[in-house]
Subunit: 165 residues, 2 copies
DNA sequence: CATTATTTAATTGTGCACAACTATTAATTG
DNA sequence: CAATTAATAGTTGTGCACAATTAAATAATG
């Protein structure tokens, strides 16, 4: 009976994380609409403003997105004139992404975005940093988790069914 | 120049939230695949296991999803035999969602999911509760934010351009 | 009671996410 | 150097998200 507690929606960390993520992105939406970009496109711009000319692969590693997501997204950004996609001369497999003048210029209008968001979040700088740090730890943990040596496999099974190596 | 710090990817709370949310859902995926459901479908099941027969509207209020997302999702769940969609007799606008026998039975196999996830997250019960609580506060704040009385509007503009009522 | 406004779901269209697969190029190895 | 393997993008197909619109039913109002 006490097991039912674990299945209640309000006891799910993942749900509040999922709801928070979508809620924050919803808060960004009108600000980014002024810049004519979506939230994932904004993330691509953040990477490019730090380092122009990165490959699709490097972008994917940074944003945890694969080519199935990035290829069409980058094509949309190219057709709206923010970036240019250029096949690498030294490695023909690579496609490098470069900011256009329009893409570089957009940065000026983006400076206001993070500060407006911080204000909307109602967080102090300390709370902001603390929460970000906690989430970074969680992210690192779930991304390095190795299913091969899964300590959790039998965690909710009957004790007798646990397989010890 | 110091403004550039605010536009760095690694300084974005929303990005780590977005990455964490997708990372956790990725961790759920193989477990839920065993139950033949996706993560959003799992959330619907959590609501229905708590309260059978809710309307699409009530589901949407609970999960922060609209009919554009829920209608096709619920149709898929109906065709896979987990739920039944029934037009309400007392209010013909409403569609109420009921668990089938198969849907009710699935709960037994779902008990293991939250505990496996908790283990994968590597969080203590205290850290889990603390993080969930912090995210709930943030969610409440951004969901009740009223753009009409936006204190943040001029937050990054020049001080002289601030409009006081 | 007829009209208007509101509520509720469904529909349409766009843009992600991601798994599975293909094609091309580069690196490795016998 | 030829054959194999690995790396990189692209393609295809499915399932969300969400804005905007439509349609139907109910509630509110003059």
């Amino acid at each position: 009976m006490g097991n039912d507690e674990f299945l209640k929606l309000d006891n799910q960390l993942c749900f509040v994380l999922y709801a928070c993520s979508r809620g924050l992105i919803r808060t960004y939406r009108p600000l980014l609409a002024d810049l004519d970009i979506t939230y994932p496109q904004y993330l691509v711009m953040l990477v490019l403003w730090e380092q122009d000319g990165v490959s699709v692969k490097a972008l994917g590693d940074r944003l945890f997105l694969d080519s199935g997501t990035l290829t069409p997204l980058l094509k949309r950004m190219a057709s709206s004139g923010l970036i240019a996609r250029k096949r690498s001369a030294t490695d023909e497999r690579r496609v490098n992404i470069f900011l256009t003048a329009k893409g570089k210029a957009l940065k000026q209008r983006a400076y206001a975005v993070p500060q407006t968001l911080l204000c909307h979040s109602g967080l102090t700088a300390e709370a902001f940093m603390g929460l970000k740090s906690d989430l970074e730890s969680l992210l690192a943990r779930i991304r390095t988790f190795d299913p091969e040596k899964d300590v959790c496999a039998g965690v909710s099974a009957a004790p007798s069914s646990r397989k010890q190596s």
